[in-house]
Amino acid sequence: MSVSRRRFLAAGATAAGAAALAPGLRLVDLATARSPEEAASSLNRWGLLIDADKCADGCRACVDACHTENGVSGHDRPETDPQWIRTVSVSDPQTGHSQQLPVMCQHCEEPPCVDVCPTGASFRRDDGIVLVDKHICIGCRYCMMACPYKARSFIHEQVTDQKPDMPRGKGTVESCTLCVHRVDRGDTQTACAEACAKEGHRAILFGDLNDADSEISRELKAHGGIQLRADLHLNTGVRYRGLS
């Protein structure tokens, strides 16, 4: 009941925002960058479109770029080291076809991690970015169990040399922030998308799903895209293409 009401209102707000007064003239310009004092708004919904066909086998440019951008480092202990984005290889035993794709927080509209969080630390921002407020995270890790994409990591050890834009500390949970510091700055690329384009693959596309004129929306409209575990009806902000 509440979901359908919320969806209805959100759809209404988007329609109102996109209402064109005349060709090329809008009531609210969806694509312009916010000023620093302006809050994130539901007029935007940030997301990624990942083309698995373009993702090159063995390439880890997106993973490395993400971890450099956000100061994520490990201790050579793969079981417990944090990973905000990882490459997953899938293969079809019948045809022998195998491919690689990056998986990170899917920035769900109905995030299970937010549902289970006992303190409200796990939350979804108005523009669709799912985050952990580490100030109020108690490290219970319910969200890690609830996430169907295994997107979250727990920081087991003392952290030093964090990036000024990305505070990280022992005893809290973290995951992909969709480079929220870049989004707030008005950048049009996440670190992973930028690195992928630099490698010449262009397998990751970042953009505003609510802006019909954005490249990601046009691509999705023209060629479609699927959600991982679409059966869970989470309406993810990260969409995939080329999975077979």
Binding site: A39, R125, Q162, P167, G186
Partner: protein, 125 residues
């Protein structure tokens, strides 16, 4: 009994006298960059924690990244140019917090260091 009271009073008065004389050790807080802070110094001494707590929620939940009351900008101005940090013996935050015996939680997650010179000039377009 009376003599004990008199003795106590004398000790208290003596104590006040030394305070007035300036014998109490004061923290040596170096503010480093800039002539004035974003608010009046007395106000900042009493209320800086309220300002950064408010800004914390605004930034985290609403994506508002104004620089006036942000912890990142505190660090930019007040970092020791030698260590680039607000912690350490001459660190702006630590020198006063050690004196007042108040622990700082900020830096268990936030970096106490100012940005590298090359990154510092990178600003919003």
């Amino acid at each position: 009994m009376f003599s004990l009271r008199a003795l106590t009073l004398t000790m208290v008065l003596a104590g006040l006298a030394t305070t007035a004389a300036g014998d109490v050790p004061r923290p040596e807080v170096k503010a480093y960059k800039g002539e004035t802070c974003v608010e009046e110094t007395g106000f900042m001494r009493r209320n800086h924690m309220e300002l950064i707590l408010h800004q914390r929620d605004e930034t985290m939940h609403r994506g508002i990244r104004t620089t006036k009351h942000s912890l990142k900008e505190c660090i930019e101005c007040h970092a020791d140019p030698q260590t680039r940090s607000v912690l350490g013996e001459n660190g702006f935050c630590q020198s006063c917090h050690s004196y007042a015996a108040v622990s700082i939680d900020c830096f268990s997650c936030h970096t106490p260091k100012a940005r590298e010179q090359s990154a510092a000039v990178e600003k919003r377009p």
